[in-house]
Amino acid sequence: MHTVSRPYFRLTRDDWTALSRPNCMGLEMNITGDGKNWKQGKLTLRVPKDASSRSWKHLEYISQLPSFAKKGENSNSSGVPSELIGCIVQQGIARIRPITEPSQTTLRRPRNDQQRVPWPVWEVPDDQLVKKTLMEITPSFE
């Protein structure tokens, strides 16, 4: 997978080319806080496939630490604080790579890399026996 370091967040010609590919669902940015301008930790943002400009207003959260979960007026429609974007611009800590699978799958897939297993098969009691027993225990039960 193509990964590059950027001095600041800006989509390049290669990014637009990657976005235009049929199997590309968007661009993903991994960001590491420096502990000064932003709390230490990592989070992932996404530039959606239908991004129409270079504006940070198109960034969406994918994952984040709780310390990043700030809300305020200075955020875009996905809640990404503008201060965070400023931090990315100043610190040059954005890394961008194409996402080649549906974002919803990325969001919902368990991170344990194990296969889903079928539900357990538990013994099912006999309906009539249950009803008879309940009538004996509690005659008022219908």
Partner: protein
Amino acid sequence: MIDPRVVESIVRNNTLIQPFVESMREDGIRMDAYVWDNSPCLFPGIRRAVGGTDADLKKKVVPRHLRAEKQAIYIDDNSYAKQLWAFLLTNGNFANHGPIGYELAHLFHHKSDSDTDTSDEIDGLENREDPISGFFTAATSCAFIPKSLARVTDLNLSARRLIQRRVYELYQGACNPLPPGCSLKSDPADWHTSEFEWAPAVGYSESGTALNALLKFRFDELQRLVENSNANAA
């Protein structure tokens, strides 16, 4: 029922979702109906649809301007209550079917249009404005039971009070199953838990892999729903 060690882990992890809880509170949701100290609630802000009044919003994110009115960020059918079980027992999120021959039973009333009277089961709810919506996805408040017993756990007071006492015995060391100021009603005629044979608790594994996947899913879902509501209001 779910293993108490799983419940302990959920309670510890609840500190990570506190920013979402505060965000919901700021939007006018009375969160004490969902969470309290050492609460076992898994998805605060998500409640079951109430017949008649929630039809338009069922299985939808509640827009921010309606959150205070609806007292929720999402109106669910019954899916989120099953996520805990699906992750722990099938290693993935709930896929619209459960174990064959079993149904998910809610062991405590969690909505205003319940079939039986909550005051017959819990003391301390008299002055509360809201139903305890947190029971809907609480790790201690649901169990998969044989279908032949489903109506019993819905409607038979003796059976309900028996199972509620079992909940308290099993989980009181792991969490606070009930909100502060509330307690289970007791009566000399109550059935005793010691006179019944109980299935072993399920869902715990040493690796904790499935539980960690559930907690990650929980965090992502709450984040998505909270932010989606924000987007609706923008």
